[in-house]
Every structure is written in structure tokens, then in C-alpha cells.
Symmetry: C2
Subunit: 162 residues, 2 copies
DNA sequence: GATCTTATGTCAGCCTTGTTGACTTTCCAA
DNA sequence: TTGGAAAGTCAACAAGGCTGACATAAGATC
């Protein structure tokens, strides 16, 4: 009640929050729909997409780092990586300084698929951004960032600062 | 280039779109983290949460309607519903007019769990909303809505209009 | 040099949650 | 009365999570 005068607090009602929750649910479905279709053609799933995305984003990343970003077990990731390496989309190079580490890179074929997937996903994103306008997009990003767990926010911010 | 003068189009660059994609990924993890923990204690998964959420939101909904909202097969939903009915969280009443239909309701125990789950999820949502402010929240909602498939947007809007 | 720790990989087995296909029961509506 | 829609059920399968146990290589430490 202290600052009820300045800005209305109606946007914090349970009803508004519930709407936000449902919006996240339905929007996430749209968010993954296009890549899902492409992945199916190639016999892959979302797990492969995530690996491909972050290897593209941070080339030379180690398995352990990828594990931390994705938040899955090494057994789970390994199954996915093995398939991608066998299919020639990902290359795992032994580390220079530390030979225990594997540094991950997309091959040409891997980059090609990444392009196809992210083109589709960016296309929808671009349409949504354009429809909503720059101010809305700034708000969108603010809320999403505030919604993350601190550790995930750390990963999120590290991805672009380098 | 036509309207480059008025508002900058820099928010539509591939880099910005990619950041938005990653924000969605990390934020969705936070979005589901709290309910996931609670569900685990009860031996349920996200599929149960979704069913409980939408039955609470639209009491008396039919199985077919729920199917359309959730976008899964009836076999998949049925498995989840059966567990919830057996555990006494959901009641499936035979339709009055059309006795083939089952109308779904949460029992008292079901409502209790729904409360617990949505309290946790709203809590995070509220914190994010508060941190970002009302203008950001409006933008957040605009972008999410623009990101949905048209059919999902229909469901989304129908949920509050009644 | 021996030992501890870390990074990675792998095997086996389990669970949830999605899928398809086939079939039955119920029952509204033409 | 009969066709078809709504719902339920059974079986089988796959993706992608998980745990636990174990192997190997190599950096780090004593």
C-alpha cells in the first residue's frame, strides 16, 4: 500500500500471475514447435538441439561446461553427444593443456543443421518481436532474466560477454 | 530501412534474437523448477501438474477439451488422469446431457495440491514481475502471446474470458 | 613415485511421458 | 437402427531424463 499511488500493483494479482504462467506454457510450445519439426526429419530430439545450439554458441566448450549449462547428467548428455559425433555433426578434440578434457566443435554438417534450426526458431522470434515492438521486447527480456535461477543467469550472461 | 529513423531495428538482429531464445530456455527452467520439486515429493511429474492446473482453471472441462489444450494424445493423458483419479485428486463425472463425456473436477485434496503448486510458481513469477516492473510485464506478455501458435492463442484467451 | 582427484566415457537398469495401432463400450443423432 | 463420435483400454515402443557402478586417462599433490 505504501506506493500504491505511483504505479498500480494490479499487475501482481494472482489472476495476472496465473495468466503469465499460462502464457509461458503456451508460448514455450510455439517456441519449440518449428525446430521440433525439423529435428524429426533428421531423427533427432530436443536434447540434440540443445547440445548443437550451445556448442555453436560456445565453440570449444568442454563436456563438463556443457553439462552445467544444460543441467543434465553426463550419461544423458553422453548418449546425445555420441550420436552427434557418430553422425559427423560434432567433433570432440582432446584438450591441449589438459588432455582429459574434450573440446566440442560443430563440423560443417553440424553448422548446417544448426543454421536450419536457428533460422526457423529466429523466424518465429523475429515475427513475435516485430509484432510486439522494441519496448515490449526489452520488458520481455527483463522478466525472463528475473525468472531464472541465479546459476542459470550466470551461464546466460557469460554466453555473450566473451 | 524505411522507418529506421523512428525506432532502431537493432532489436531484430540475429544476435538479439539468439539472446531471446536462450533467455526463454533458461527462464523456462526456473519457471518449472519449484513445482518440479513439490511434484517429486508426491511422486508426480509435469504432466500431472499440467492436468491439475487446467482442471482447476476450467472446472468441469471434458477430457477432449483438455486434450486440445495440452496437445497430447488421449492415451498419454489417460494414464495421468487415471493416476490422479485413483489417488483421489481428480473426480470424473459422467456428463448430464452427453453421458459419453467425462467432466473433470479437482477434489479437496486435488485443490490442496494445486494450491501448493501454484503458490510456489506464482511466488517466483511475482518476484520476477516485481523486479521488472509493470511496463516490462506488459511487454513480456505481448511477446509471449505473439510467439504462440494461433490455436494455442485461442485456448489461452478462452481461459480467462469466461 | 605413489596416491588422490578430476574429466570423461560406458554399461545396465529404471521412470516418466510422449507416440502409434487396434479394439471395445457407450450413446447421440440422423 | 445404424453410423460415428467420445471415451477408455491394452500393448508396444522411443526419447530422454535418472541412479549406480566401474574404467581410464591424466593432472595435482604429497
Amino acid at each position: 500500500m505504501a506506493q500504491k499511488s505511483g504505479e498500480s500493483l494490479l499487475y501482481l494479482t494472482d489472476e495476472q500471475l496465473r495468466k503469465g504462467i499460462e502464457a509461458m506454457f503456451f508460448a514455450y510450445r510455439g517456441f519449440t514447435a518449428d525446430p521440433d519439426r525439423i529435428l524429426e526429419e533428421h531423427g533427432y530430439g530436443r536434447a540434440h538441439h540443445r547440445a548443437i545450439h550451445f556448442i555453436h554458441r560456445a565453440p570449444g566448450t568442454t563436456v563438463n561446461n556443457l553439462l552445467a549449462i544444460l543441467g543434465v547428467t553426463k550419461q544423458s548428455l553422453n548418449r546425445v553427444l555420441r550420436a552427434l559425433v557418430e553422425d559427423g555433426l560434432v567433433e570432440a578434440r582432446v584438450g591441449q593443456r589438459d588432455k582429459r578434457e574434450r573440446h566440442l566443435y560443430l563440423t560443417e554438417a553440424g553448422e548446417a543443421l544448426e543454421q536450419k534450426l536457428s533460422d526457423a526458431q529466429r523466424e518465429r522470434m523475429r515475427a513475435a518481436y516485430r509484432a510486439a515492438g522494441p519496448a515490449a521486447v526489452a520488458g520481455f527480456r527483463q522478466v525472463l532474466e528475473a525468472m531464472m535461477d541465479p546459476e542459470m543467469r550466470r551461464h546466460f550472461n557469460r554466453l555473450t560477454e566473451r
